[in-house]
Symmetry: C2
Subunit: 205 residues, 2 copies
Amino acid sequence: MTNTERSPRRAATEARILDAALDVFADHGFRGATLDGIASAAGMSKPNLLYYFATKEEMHVALLDGLMDTWLDPLEALDPTGEPIEELRAYIRRKLAMAQRYPRESRLFANEIVQGAPRIASMLSGRLRALVQAKAAILDEWIMQGRLAPVDPAHLIFAIWATTQHYADFDVQVCAVLDSDDDARFDTALATLEILFIDGLRPRG
Amino acid sequence: MTNTERSPRRAATEARILDAALDVFADHGFRGATLDGIASAAGMSKPNLLYYFATKEEMHVALLDGLMDTWLDPLEALDPTGEPIEELRAYIRRKLAMAQRYPRESRLFANEIVQGAPRIASMLSGRLRALVQAKAAILDEWIMQGRLAPVDPAHLIFAIWATTQHYADFDVQVCAVLDSDDDARFDTALATLEILFIDGLRPRG
DNA sequence: GTCTATAAAGAGATAGAC
DNA sequence: GTCTATCTCTTTATAGAC
């Protein structure tokens, strides 16, 4: 029953639709997105859209499922054999790069979760929970070894998610406050997060 | 033309409506919210709702305007004459308490901003921008005096916003990963943020 | 001030020609 | 595979009785 990419032709059209859908879902949320808007962005008619994806929800699910791997990659890559501080620095860097490169994806998830995650609740309490707990165990090990300050590991992960995704999800707010261009903004963000997470705010003489 | 609270009777009904509207807007976003849902939550008919607020947008604007003061209070209270580290610690505490006490308000703003802030863009580039720049100047002064680590002050404020509001906006995700009850969750969050922001992750001692 | 009934528009999905 | 036309349901908003 798995009819994934029967022909290259079909796969290309599906990709075009999903790209358009990502634009619209990220900007308006699931409920605010319209098939008219997606069809227009994809350059095709509404019924033709529905020839590829039977319902609006099916498009949404296809997007969320298809992007989940990419989204969790930075945390998956946290290496238990690495040096703790440098591993976390690298994780922050990867996660912030994701926010810069894939802001639509970030806002797709943000829309979904802020509104109670009606369509990905099982993924959150399944795969996501398992991943966080696995990586938290690594952090706990590092703390026990005295190689990392004694913080709650899950909350540390939340803090890294929050601060990095903020630059995608709350982009309009950040840009309303700052005047810097995209590259400068993310450079300064990275520098600030590295100081904050690694060294803290206490002045170092 | 300012017909604010003509009678106590009217004011009470308006407050009841806005409380219901806050429930619904926070859960579903502007577009996802329906007058049916708000009317039901407020315990009155849809046309009666529209007797008090002519349109759905008017309710939304009334909420955003009415909550802005409360929302910015924690940052307003940052005291230039205080001790830098303790001021920031207290700010984080106030902001996290807001997220715990007013999660609906947090998600109301989150929904609006993630979707491009169509209805509060002028507030962001006006009042919010001015406030952040004023407080950033205080932080810069502290840094020049060597009383605070040299971080970008606006990005520091963003990091505090992101990490604290995360516990309201992404509550379902946090709860999917953790098993702790509300009080324990926020206690651990506060402890973690204090260590992170004040001391950093480098092991001490 | 509050309601029932309803108009009018929006939006998801289908029918059927090409 | 793609389209135009259309059905149907939802939702915002209004009319008008009480």
